[in-house]
């Protein structure tokens, strides 16, 4: 079993390239928040308290459009519902940690930290899971906060000619490929993607949830077909 330090730095090394992808995302989250009229403190408060990029951007967008506060809350939480599945998926790996520890680990749970950790935990080589996860999750948190602040300070203007927001789907794309490990997972991804596109017009970002659920069901169907 590697030491805590070794596992932590393995997590840091794994997340390093991912950080490049969240830099523009964080800058946009900071700049967009002040652009729609949030104060700098509110923009940073949103980042620290919520710490979930897609939900933050959706909330900022809706706040700027003077949507009812209840709709802002529901939309952001619906976008974050996918983390329910991450929580269930990663829970067995943290079962031996104290409650306070697990609360801290939960606060740091993101798409990227989840994807990296679960992939690593599934490998044959031993690792101290909590420390690997922290190594992956803490730099994400720190870079996200620094970039939000930078976005607030630099303020509104990211030139339109530089399509920085495109780095976000590219990051998810790079995480998606290793997740497609076999045919069933490939079907899950295809159905998830197509479902989300078809449902893109649905309110409350329900297209994302519907696509993801459809993908999981499709994956299960393919898998059970195989076993017979």
């Amino acid at each position: 079993m590697p030491s805590r330090r070794e596992s932590f730095s393995e997590g840091v090394r794994a997340v390093a390239p991912v950080l490049v992808g969240i830099v523009p995302f964080g800058l946009v989250a900071g700049a967009a928040a002040v652009e729609v009229g949030l104060s700098g403190l509110q923009a940073v408060g949103l980042s620290v308290v919520v710490f979930a990029g897609a939900a933050q951007l959706a909330a900022i967008d809706l706040l700027g459009g003077d949507a009812p506060l209840a709709v802002v809350v529901v939309t952001a939480l619906v976008i974050n519902l996918r983390m329910l599945m991450y929580s269930a998926s990663i829970a067995p790996h943290f079962r031996d940690a104290a409650t306070r520890w697990r609360a801290g680990l939960a606060y740091l749970l993101t798409d990227q930290a989840y994807a990296l950790s679960v992939t690593r935990f599934g490998a044959d080589r031993p690792v101290r899971k909590r420390w690997y996860y922290l190594g992956a999750a803490l730099p994400l948190w720190a870079v996200w906060q620094v970039c939000t602040v930078a976005g607030v300070v630099v303020g509104a203007r990211v030139p339109d000619s530089l399509p920085l927001s495109f780095a976000v789907p590219l990051t998810f794309l790079a995480l998606l490929m290793p997740a497609v490990t076999d045919r069933a997972a490939g079907v899950a991804a295809t159905v998830g993607g197509v479902g989300a596109v078809v449902g893109a017009g649905l309110p409350l970002n329900l297209g994302l949830i519907a696509g993801a659920l459809g993908g999981v069901v499709a994956g299960l169907l393919v898998e059970s077909g195989w076993q017979r």
């Binding site: 390239p17 991912v18 490049v20 992808g21 009229g37 509110q42 308290v49 919520v50 710490f51 909330a59 706040l63 802002v72 809350v73 952001a76 939480l77 974050n80 996918r82 329910l84 991450y86 929580s87 269930a88 998926s89 829970a91 067995p92 409650t99 609360a103 939960a106 606060y107 798409d111 994807a115 399509p163 495109f166 780095a167 976000v168 789907p169 590219l170 998810f172 794309l173 790079a174 998606l176 490929m177 997740a179 997972a185 899950a188 991804a189 998830g192 989300a196 596109v197 893109a200 297209g207 994302l208 696509g211 993801a212 659920l213 459809g214 993908g215 999981v216 499709a218 994956g219 299960l220």
Partner: protein, 108 residues
């Protein structure tokens, strides 16, 4: 949008998001194990959710799905997908994808 309203949104979304994240990580203490069916289903979560995050971002233009060579984002993402598949390298995927989008922007 009053300042108080914004802070209320931040507080409620923050609390709700934490509870979502903590849910099973907390409850697992009281369950001996995740039910087998749930575990099988959860295996497909990363692929399905990541694809559901990516696809609309590259396929939907101005609210309508656009599948064709007129969609620069889709073309750039296809090139990036190839790089992601061959290298599984996040940085390479982002760099190539951004470069492709910028390049296509100049050409088209």
């Amino acid at each position: 949008m009053t300042p108080l309203g914004v802070w209320a949104v931040i507080a409620v979304v923050g609390a709700g998001t934490f509870l979502i994240r903590f849910s099973f990580i907390y409850l697992f203490e009281y369950l001996s194990e995740v039910p087998e069916g749930a575990e099988r289903a959860l295996r497909f979560v990363p692929a399905a959710v990541l694809a559901a995050l990516v696809a609309p971002a590259v396929v939907v233009v101005d609210g309508t799905p656009a599948v064709g060579i007129g969609n620069e984002r889709l073309l750039a993402a296809s090139v990036a997908a190839l790089v992601a598949w061959r290298t599984e390298n996040v940085l390479a995927t982002i760099v190539v994808g951004m470069a492709a989008l910028l390049g296509l922007g100049t050409v088209m």
